[in-house]
């Protein structure tokens, strides 16, 4: 049985990690919401962000959090190309081509990572990686707090972008009704490419944080993709608040579940939640909630 201390610690950590989970899932949620595309390489894009920060940060002598400013445009550019050249052409040709192309892309990325950087696991360390604070009697890692704050900032930023800017409105239009949007003069294919690019850019933040808090390797993509899936299922798409909520629910469930059943079951919990929710509400769950 769990002591109150363990429960509280688990809940707090889950909450903080939930912010991180949310920002990593945000890109995935956006792509699915706008283009109904299950972005299977999403995990690999996160890992790419981690790798880039891992190498660029010491090379330039910057703090990894600062290098996000450099990594984000790189990922943005790569994401744009992926959607424009590889995914756009096969969209609309049926389910299989898009799905399998995405699946293949994820595998290609994985192989490229191994070729460039070997299968070794890495982690991004800084002076403050080890520091903890005392929060109401509980020991909390400073990095978790930083991750939570940055994630919330990121979520807010995207929310403002989607609701306040012209581009954001164009994206929402294309998402709700591509045909009408096209008629209104919006180049839907370009919007798709842009959305994917933005999602990839956000992944720079998520990926770097992952690299700083956890370790990562070329094979780390799939687990993060699955977390993104769970969060989208829990929180719905198109809703920033929903994504944050989904992230927090997953984070807390994982922490408490790990404390209760054993640390090995940590990752299964998310998947079991996913299947449970799917079983209870198989249709409507992937429907849009009001943005």
């Amino acid at each position: 049985m769990m002591s109150l201390f363990t429960f509280a610690a688990g809940a707090v950590n889950g909450l903080l990690l939930g912010g991180l989970y949310a920002i990593t899932a945000l890109g995935f949620s956006m792509v699915f919401g706008v283009m109904r595309l299950v972005n299977i390489p999403h995990g690999e894009i996160l890992v790419l962000g981690a790798f880039l920060s891992y190498f660029i940060s010491p090379a330039l002598g910057f703090d990894p959090l600062l290098t996000i400013v450099l990594v984000a445009p790189i990922l943005f550019f790569i994401g744009y190309l992926i959607q424009r050249w590889l995914l756009n052409p096969v969209m609309g040709k049926g389910i299989e081509p898009v799905l399998l192309t995405a699946f293949a892309l994820s595998s290609i990325a994985h192989s490229l990572f191994i070729l460039f950087w070997s299968v070794n696991t890495r982690t991004i360390t800084t002076r403050y990686s080890d520091q903890g604070l005392k929060l109401a009697g509980l020991n909390v890692a400073l990095m978790y707090l930083i991750a939570f704050c940055l994630s919330v900032v990121g979520l807010l930023g995207i929310h403002l972008f989607i609701t306040r800017t012209y581009l954001g409105k164009a994206i929402r239009a294309a998402a709700q009704d591509p045909e009408t949007a096209r008629v209104m003069g919006i180049n839907v294919k370009s919007i798709y490419a842009l959305t994917y690019a933005i999602a990839a850019g956000i992944a720079a933040l998520g990926g770097t944080l992952i690299g700083m808090i956890y370790s990562f390797s070329p094979a780390s993509g799939l687990p993060w993709l699955l977390k993104g899936l769970v969060i989208v299922v829990l929180g719905g798409m198109g809703s920033i608040v929903g994504t944050l909520l989904g992230g927090v629910i997953l984070g807390v469930a994982e922490e408490l579940g790990a404390a209760a059943f054993g640390i090995g079951y940590r990752d299964i919990i998310g998947l079991l939640i996913f299947l449970l929710v799917l079983y209870i509400r198989p249709t409507g769950l992937f429907g849009r909630s009001s943005a």
Binding site: T6, G10, N120, S129, D130, G132, Y214, A258, I263, G264
Partner: protein, 407 residues
């Protein structure tokens, strides 16, 4: 007959012959008189065990390079010296890859003997394949009890390493020499080493009258230890003993510091052994312990020089594993020379008769019985002090004093 069915069969036939000709083209023709002695191995050059890769590579290749400089190994059956060719594949620290590599070495490259990969998860499956194909394999970096836990009588695979039965007593024997609250927290991962050692530590704790307040068991490559650490803290264990890989150990130690859990003594088996451990932690690793089976200060033939030579040739700080791998290779070469031929069965017979002192100590294999095909090395306890490992137990071999509690 429709076109579709016709072309169906055409393509099937074409595929069959295509694959056939391909496979035949790719197969190697054997020469009548052998031109070289082929030995194969699969090493963890990348992956979670990559920290140990350089030691294995150097340890396995150096005796062979040396012997090739003098023209090769003399085989009485052919009346001449033949050069030794060591074929090395990377197994990424993954058992399935290692098994594939070993199968390829045996079937395609046609090696006459094998040097093992590292660690029970890879040694056991590859050992089983070597047994099936009757190719002798000498194993390094594989603790004896885990090796024997495969549950079969080994005939073609030989192991020289420490015996966990003895190794898991060292921590308690050392702690008996200092004051503590005799409460222990165990952190073991769930690969064969972790499971075997975890069991032995639990038993030995009772035997030496220590109390295990918490035993954390986690899957390999876990990255989040906070919850486990908190429980160890709750149990107020002053002694922490763990077994895991280097990345896990680094993460665990780091998180322990974040959460403010500082035991009096910390043992990091496997993870705390290579130079990588000190490099990643810096001064934070001062005082951490790991058991060892070799140290340059032990008086075996060539021991001290081995360290100098390794550090000079590779520019890397040494590790005790250069000795085990170097010795394994020596043992194999010695056996091939004594067998005088490339016949795997004869080589295997020669290995079984090994009785000589190598750089890692005296080696003679136990024959038959539950401990068959193994040779255990005695353990000492090493402690990281200022970037180097010093022997701190037993006292008569110690090169430095035991720092306790942790600074």
């Amino acid at each position: 007959m429709s076109i579709r069915v016709r072309t169906n069969y055409l393509v099937i036939a074409a595929c069959f012959y295509l694959t056939l000709s391909f496979a035949l083209a790719v197969s190697v023709e054997c020469a009548e008189t052998p031109k070289e002695i082929k030995i194969g191995t699969s090493i963890l050059l990348t992956g979670k065990g990559a920290a140990f890769g350089p030691y294995m590579k150097w340890g396995y290749s150096t005796p062979i390079d040396d012997i090739n400089k003098s023209g090769g190994l003399y085989l009485s059956k052919y009346g001449k010296k033949l050069p030794v060719n060591l074929i090395v594949y990377d197994d990424e620290s993954r058992p399935e890859k290692a098994a594939q590599n070993i199968e390829r070495l045996i079937l395609k490259d046609k090696v006459c003997a094998l040097l093992s990969p590292a660690g029970p998860p890879t040694v056991i499956p590859t050992g089983i394949i070597a047994e099936r194909e009757k190719i002798p394999m000498v194993a390094a970096l594989c603790p004896i009890r885990a090796f024997l836990s495969a549950g079969k009588q080994w005939n073609y695979v030989w192991d020289v390493f420490f015996d966990e039965l003895e190794m898991t007593e060292q921590q308690f024997l050392l702690m008996d020499t200092v004051e503590s609250n005799r409460k222990v927290a165990l952190f073991t991962n769930n690969d064969p080493d972790g499971v075997v050692m975890g069991n032995f530590w639990s038993k030995n704790a009772q035997k030496f009258k220590y109390e295990v307040v918490y035993h954390a068991k986690f899957p390999v490559m876990t990255t989040e230890f906070s919850d486990l650490i908190r429980r160890a803290q709750e149990g107020q264990a002053e002694i922490m003993i763990g077994q895991c890989y280097v990345p896990e150990a680094i993460a665990l130690w780091r998180q322990m510091r974040v959460l403010g859990y500082k035991p009096k003594a910390a043992f990091f088996e496997k993870g705390g052994e290579p130079a990588e451990w000190w490099k990643a932690n810096g001064q934070a690793a001062q005082g951490t312990c790991v058991t060892g089976y070799w140290h340059p200060s032990l008086g075996y033939p060539g021991a001290k020089d081995l360290r100098q030579r390794f550090e000079k040739e590779t520019g890397l700080p040494y590790s005790q594993h250069i000795a085990d791998t170097y010795a394994i290779c020596q043992i194999l070469l010695d056996a091939i020379r004594r067998a005088g031929s490339l016949d795997p069965k004869e080589i295997n017979g020669a290995i079984s008769e090994t009785n000589k002192t190598f750089v890692v100590g005296p080696v003679k294999f136990k024959r038959g019985g539950p401990d068959g095909n193994t040779c255990g090395l005695s353990s000492v306890v090493l402690q990281w002090q200022n970037g180097e490992t010093q022997i701190v137990y037993p006292k008569k071999l110690a090169t430095a004093g035991f720092i306790c509690p942790l600074p």
